[in-house]
């Protein structure tokens, strides 16, 4: 009995695509490419591709006259592209730039300034002690809040982990931005986002090196915009924090 080879290829490639998409969601590696809110849509796409694969395989015993295979490349290319993050993990991402500058991790204190950043609850503002702890969980809303209400928090002690960024060309001397990569939509729009650090020390920190900073919150006016700043009191190397900051 002859078989419909086109249906075989279409079935295999559709199932593969569905499988790769499902794999990206299950492993969470889709987060190195797109924002978390895409999860539902990717799951839906995975289900549709799997159903298409089954529908194709149902037709395998129906040979047809006109066979075509070139269109299967339209799915092979995405499979090839999307298999890479599954295989190579988060290393294949913009975030990997910061990994290359991470110094020996074993000598780094996992609790810089005695703070466990992973366990900080709430919005990170301790009004009673005039302390602000910027963590992965509160990163974007907290910086937004500080920008909008800087006068209320001026002078607070700020603790923050991030990597050194010199993207802001207005910064001089050894000043830098302590940043994390912010992903608004997908990896294509990833950019460093953080607080400007006014650092009077002698060290010119390497770009993308991870640091923990302790300092006092201030602000600067730049082209009419108010930007929160940190007057750095203490700097120590920090462990790299993997992943992006998702504002929405």
């Amino acid at each position: 009995m002859k078989i419909n080879l086109q249906a075989v290829w279409e079935g295999i490639i559709s199932l593969l695509t569905g499988g790769v998409l499902a794999g990206l969601v299950v492993t969470g590696r889709y987060l190195s490419l797109v924002v978390p809110r895409m999860k539902l849509f990717i799951c839906l796409a995975a289900v549709i591709f799997i159903l298409w694969g089954i529908a194709s395989l149902i037709q395998v015993k129906r040979p047809v006259y006109r066979l075509a295979y070139a269109h299967c490349l339209a799915l092979f290319i995405p499979v090839l592209l999307l298999f890479s993050p599954l295989l190579l993990g988060a290393a294949y991402s913009a975030d990997s730039r910061t990994a290359s500058q991470t110094i020996e991790q074993q000598n780094i204190d996992p609790r810089p300034f005695g703070i466990d950043f992973d366990t900080v609850k709430g919005d990170g503002i301790d009004a009673a002690h005039k302390k602000i702890m910027v963590t992965t969980a509160n990163y974007y809303p907290l910086i937004l809040k500080l920008t909008q209400h800087i006068k209320d928090y001026e002078g607070y002690e700020v603790y923050m982990i991030g990597f050194v960024s010199y993207d802001d060309k207005s910064l001089t001397n050894n000043n830098f931005t302590l940043a994390r990569y912010l992903m608004a939509c997908c990896i294509n729009d990833v950019s460093p986002f953080g607080l400007i650090c006014n650092y009077s020390g002698d060290i010119h920190w390497k770009e993308y090196q991870w640091l923990a900073v302790k300092g006092q919150l201030g602000y600067r006016e730049y082209h009419g915009l108010i930007q929160p700043t940190i007057a750095v009191k203490e700097v120590v190397p920090a462990k790299r924090v993997a992943g992006y900051i998702y504002p929405y």
Binding site: I58, L75, A184, C185
Partner: protein, 530 residues
């Protein structure tokens, strides 16, 4: 046992199948040929061995298979020419010759489709899916522009050109020949068997891509860093665009399979205001892709729906539908300025464009020619499953949507790749030509880009978002408005279905409307630029 070659001549009733077959068989010297007819027409076959078969139905299938076997075993013919019935779908032919034991006796050498210019232009959509499936599966199309062997220049050349354009649009890869141009002295290519893809090229390309991709992805060489970034951007754009493309395709397939064109037409007919209101509401409720909207538009014109109402459905539908709104919202990270701008300006532009055609009379001749199949832009051959039960309906829906996806995905992949390349290299190119802050250049550039990239409107927002770091937002808005209304594939499809003057007028009006809309967006959002 060596299988007997069989040539199959398809086409609608009375379009000249026997005439063309007789002509083609004139120079078939030294062959013992048997002509098998499944329909009898005005012209009789001129061969000695002629077998007439009944119409293929469930009841006659066994008899037909037996008699076809008999042709080979009893008559010892070297070649069979079969005139297929114009009312029987091509899928029945495949079932007969490929899925029964007839496949042990016959090898299909070539499938011809015979048609006339007037049939193409006036009847093709009215005669059901059977003839359409035959057309799409043909290896060669014979356009009967004169009765062979007459070689004088045929009359009605304009009609012939139009018919050829339409055939080229529907089956771009199928070789079509005007019968008046056939030279039997040099007809070897006509009788030569059709070449069939073996899949080796596909596998070879897939392997090559895998090797190249693996090399660039794994290589740590800084020289290839830019390529790795392009690949990463490409995969992210694809991952984001595909789910919305799928949503749009599922909705579009459901509309094409489960809602009759007559239903849409009923609401759009009548007064202009009512028709336009329903057109707009219909565009929102039924998310059709832009190329599916064109055959619907052609059908509506054929049913005497006022041009502005029909055109509004075609132009606004791909912009205002929920899938496009959702994809725009997600792509632009909840930026309502862009979402509202796209929907409101798109609606206003579509209404404006449609109203400029209120007193246009250039389509009156089309109102007599009826409608084209709604699935003109992507006919799908379905397996022989019942349409009445849920399983059959679900399978048809899945196959239809999958075919639609395979047809559109290359455009989205290409668009995503170009956008990724543009993100890496576009900034410096724009800077070099001082275009980065030029509002006029941005709008014009993006209109041209939208035209050639031919993206599906459900996936274009993601591409647009990725371009927005290099292009002023009014340019991005022009891209988001113009692309769903007009692009290269739409232009070709429209050109084959409508008079050239109408198409050019429509293109120019859309360009002007989108430019004005983009400027309004620039003024309202304060992004007039430098």
């Amino acid at each position: 046992m060596e299988r007997t070659p069989i040539y199959i001549v398809t086409g609608f009733l009375s379009t000249g199948k026997t005439t063309v077959m007789n002509y083609l068989l004139k120079r078939r010297y030294g062959k013992k040929i048997c002509v098998v007819q499944m329909e009898e027409g005005m012209t009789a076959p001129q061969q000695d061995c002629v077998v007439t078969l009944p119409l293929l139905t469930k009841d006659t299938a066994k008899e037909i298979a037996y008699r076809l076997r008999n042709c080979v075993t009893a008559h010892a013919v070297s070649e069979v020419w079969l005139e297929w019935n114009g009312m029987v779908p091509f899928q029945r032919l495949e079932e007969l010759f490929l899925q029964t034991n007839l496949s042990r006796y016959y090898v299909i050498k070539k499938i011809f489709f015979v048609t006339t210019p007037s049939f193409c232009l006036t009847m093709l959509g009215k005669t059901g899916d059977a003839v359409y499936s035959q057309l799409l599966n043909a290896d060669t199309i014979f356009l009967l522009d004169s009765i062979p062997p007459q070689s004088a220049a045929p009359e009605k050349t304009e009609e012939i050109h139009k018919a050829r354009r339409l055939l080229k649009t529907i089956c771009p890869e199928t070789h079509s020949v005007n019968v008046s141009h056939i030279s039997l002295d040099n007809a070897a290519s006509i009788y030569k068997g059709a070449s069939r893809p073996s899949g080796i090229l596909f596998m070879g390309l897939a392997l090559l891509m895998t090797v190249l991709y693996g090399f660039f992805a794994v290589s740590a060489d800084p020289a290839y860093a830019a390529i790795r970034v392009v690949l990463t951007f490409w995969m992210a754009t694809v991952l984001q665009a595909f789910p919305f493309l799928l949503l749009g395709i599922l909705c579009s397939s459901a509309l094409q399979l489960f809602i009759s064109p007559a239903c849409i037409e009923r609401y759009l007919s009548g007064s202009l205001v009512k028709g336009m209101a329903y057109a707009l509401a219909g565009g929102f409720v039924f998310p059709v892709c832009d190329c599916a909207a064109i055959p619907v538009f052609r059908g509506l014109i054929g049913r005497r729906v006022p041009i502005p109402a029909a055109m509004l459905f075609m132009l606004a539908g791909p912009i205002v539908n929920p899938v496009v709104i959702l994809s725009t919202y997600y792509a632009f990270a909840g930026n309502w300025e862009v979402v509202i701008g796209r929907v409101v300006l798109g609606t206003i532009a579509a209404i404006g464009i449609s109203l400029t055609f209120k007193n246009y009379h250039g389509l009156e001749e089309l109102t007599a020619s009826g409608q084209l199949p709604i699935n003109l832009c992507g006919y799908t051959a379905f397996p022989a499953v019942s349409e009445k039960n849920v399983y059959g309906k679900a399978l048809r829906f899945l196959i239809h949507s999958q075919r639609e996806f395979f047809r559109m995905a290359p455009y989205v992949l290409l668009g995503a790749l170009l956008a990724s390349l543009f993100q890496i290299y576009g900034g410096s190119i724009l800077q070099f030509y001082s275009l980065q802050s030029n509002l006029f250049a941005a709008i014009e550039l993006m209109i041209v880009f939208a035209f050639f990239i031919s993206l599906c409107s459900t996936a274009d927002a993601v591409i647009a978002k990725n371009l927005s770091s290099h292009i002023l937002m009014p340019g991005i808005m022009a891209f988001l408005l113009f692309g769903p209304m007009m692009d290269l594939k739409n232009f070709l499809l429209l050109s084959s279905l409508f008079p050239r003057e109408f198409v050019y007028r429509l293109v120019v009006t859309i360009i002007i409307a989108c430019c004005i809309a983009a400027f309004i967006f620039a003024v309202v959002t304060g992004s007039v630029g430098v």
